[in-house]
């Protein structure tokens, strides 16, 4: 069996940044396996701008941001295979794939980085009543049609879900001449970035209907309209508020799911909230030598932090391959107070470097203090005017703080203030 030091599954922003970082840390025998016909992943269809402000202090579109990393992969001659699908990863890191370079083959990796990204929730996950006409798309599929292939999916659009992709597509379809009748959001707040509500909806007078959902889809061959309704506190539609909107297209932007079938086949422990692997600060999963980063680990709102996370995984994989030291026992786990839905990393096993904690709150809260404490001792405290599920929070725990921790559990809490 062919031996490869590091196999990276996925050539999107996470996979490319991990590859470059592993290469710069001494690992040259790398193979990136990519399902699509180009590197860059989902960024290739994200033609809007706003990428890179954190990482490069400059604003790029998705394809431009992807090119920053693709160019490094090409300049460093890091091997990659396109149009290649990974079928299986075993717990001992044998990776089986098939694609344009011939039939099924298996390579033995010393380390594997999972960077497969995520996929969209589709109509099947929503249980919307009605017929099954043409004209129902996930927002990302519509984005691919318009931005890569140059086809318009419809003329009169209703969008269900106010995640960032839904908001971006509302603007995109409007610019291309379609009429977006409404964006419906089940929750009382949008899960997208505020700036996207301003520049994608308000700029074009597109109504955002909070606490609303689509209860029925009409049309036989093609969508002819949808019935929407307001929902109560338990998210149940209120019959008296039903309203018919004529349209030929329904776009769904109702959440993203990390694509973790391969992680499951490798026996990796998953976090039920994120849908991604349980990892330590090196982004190493429960299987020694298998790492995960980017949207396959947890869905990010900004690619800048995908790159940041992928670099950590790349460095750690390089160290694992070259030093073959035994993995340290976990020193710290986290306890999350009510109002915090998840944290990544889940565990910390070293106090040598600073660790950045990524987490999300479960609801919109105003005037809160985020507290990180080791039993009674407060390690970190910050006050926030507003926190919301759509915007990931980041806290840096310095190596000094980590060394000072006596207990084995660190508490992350939200305190409400007036």
């Amino acid at each position: 069996m062919k031996k490869i030091d590091l196999v990276i599954i996925g050539g999107g922003p996470a996979g490319m940044a991990a590859a470059v970082s592993a290469y710069n840390n001494g690992i040259k025998n790398i193979l990136i396996l990519e399902r699509e016909d180009s590197l860059g992943g989902i960024l290739q269809q994200c033609i809007h701008n706003g990428f890179g402000l954190h990482k490069f202090k400059e604003e790029f579109t998705g394809p431009e941001y992807a090119w920053k990393y693709e160019k490094q992969v090409l300049d460093l001659n890091i091997p990659y295979q396109l149009n290649t699908m990974v079928i299986d990863i075993s717990a001992d890191k044998a990776v089986t794939f098939t694609g344009e370079h011939g039939g099924s083959q298996t390579v033995q990796a010393k380390a594997v980085i999972l960077a497969m990204g995520c996929r969209e929730r589709s109509r099947g996950a929503l249980n919307i009543a009605g017929t099954r006409p043409a004209g129902i798309f996930t927002a990302g599929t519509a984005q691919r049609f318009v931005n890569i292939m140059g086809y318009m999916p419809g003329k009169r659009i209703v969008i269900l879900g106010s995640g960032d992709i839904g908001l971006i597509m509302a603007r995109r379809m409007t610019l291309e001449g379609a009429k977006v009748e409404a964006v419906c959001e089940l929750l009382p707040y949008s899960s997208g970035l505020t700036r996207n509500i301003v520049q994608c909806l308000n700029d074009f007078d597109i109504p955002l209907k909070l606490s609303h959902t689509v209860v029925k889809i009409h049309g036989k061959e093609r969508v002819t309209g949808v019935t929407i309704a307001k929902v109560d506190q338990n998210r149940k539609p209120i019959a008296e508020t039903e309203e018919y909107i004529a349209c030929d297209t329904l776009l769904l932007s109702v959440g993203l799911i990390p694509e973790n079938e391969l992680a499951k086949s490798a026996g990796i422990e998953l976090d039920l909230v994120t849908g991604g692997a349980v990892v330590n600060q090196n982004r190493e999963t429960s299987q020694i030598g298998i790492f995960a980063c980017g949207n396959v680990l947890h869905v990010h709102d900004l690619v800048d932090f995908v790159s940041e996370e992928a670099e950590l995984a790349g460095i750690a994989a390089a160290k694992y391959i070259s030093e073959s030291v035994k993995r340290e026992e976990n020193r710290i786990i986290f306890h999350l107070s009510e109002g915090i839905s998840y944290i990544v990393p889940h565990r910390i096993n070293s106090d040598q470097n600073d660790v950045i904690l990524y987490f999300r709150v479960a609801n919109v809260f105003k005037n809160v203090i985020i507290i990180v404490r080791d039993n009674e001792k407060v390690l970190f405290k910050t006050r926030k005017q507003r926190v919301m599920p759509g915007e990931m929070e980041r806290i840096r725990l310095t190596a000094d703080m980590l060394r000072s921790i006596k207990g084995d559990t660190v508490y992350i809490e939200l305190e409400h203030v007036n």
Partner: protein, 120 residues
């Protein structure tokens, strides 16, 4: 007037006070760009346009305005861009339309498109 800054994902809540159509104070911003945005939003709102242009032989190339354009005129610029049919190869940064509608602003490519290999 209250605004949400759209310069970066932070989305600061800005309060702008105006007198006779002139901005007298901006608060709530956490950087200088926020103040600039607030003034521009009150006086002459602009947006960077990102869209696609057709590539001769199939597919699309993504493009953007290299500086923000007047918000009210975006559909006018879209019409011009949608008439194009561009010959590959195209490189990131290539000027697709120079000085669109005498604005001094260029439409540039944001993606690389390889040349067609007729021998393949």
């Amino acid at each position: 007037m209250n605004l949400t800054c759209i310069i970066c994902p932070k989305g600061c809540l800005l309060t702008v006070e105006t007198e006779n159509g002139r901005v007298v104070s901006v608060t709530g911003n956490t950087c200088e760009r926020g103040e600039k945005y607030a003034v521009s939003e009150c006086v002459n709102p602009t947006r960077t346009l990102t869209t696609t242009a057709r590539v001769a032989g199939g597919g699309m190339v993504s493009v953007k305005s290299d500086k923000p354009l007047m918000k009210g005129n975006l559909s006018e610029y879209m019409k011009i861009i949608n008439k194009l049919s561009l010959l590959p190869p195209i490189h990131i940064g290539d000027i697709i339309i120079e000085n669109i509608n005498e604005t001094g602003i260029n439409i540039v490519a944001t993606k690389n498109i390889k040349g067609v290999n007729y021998n393949a």
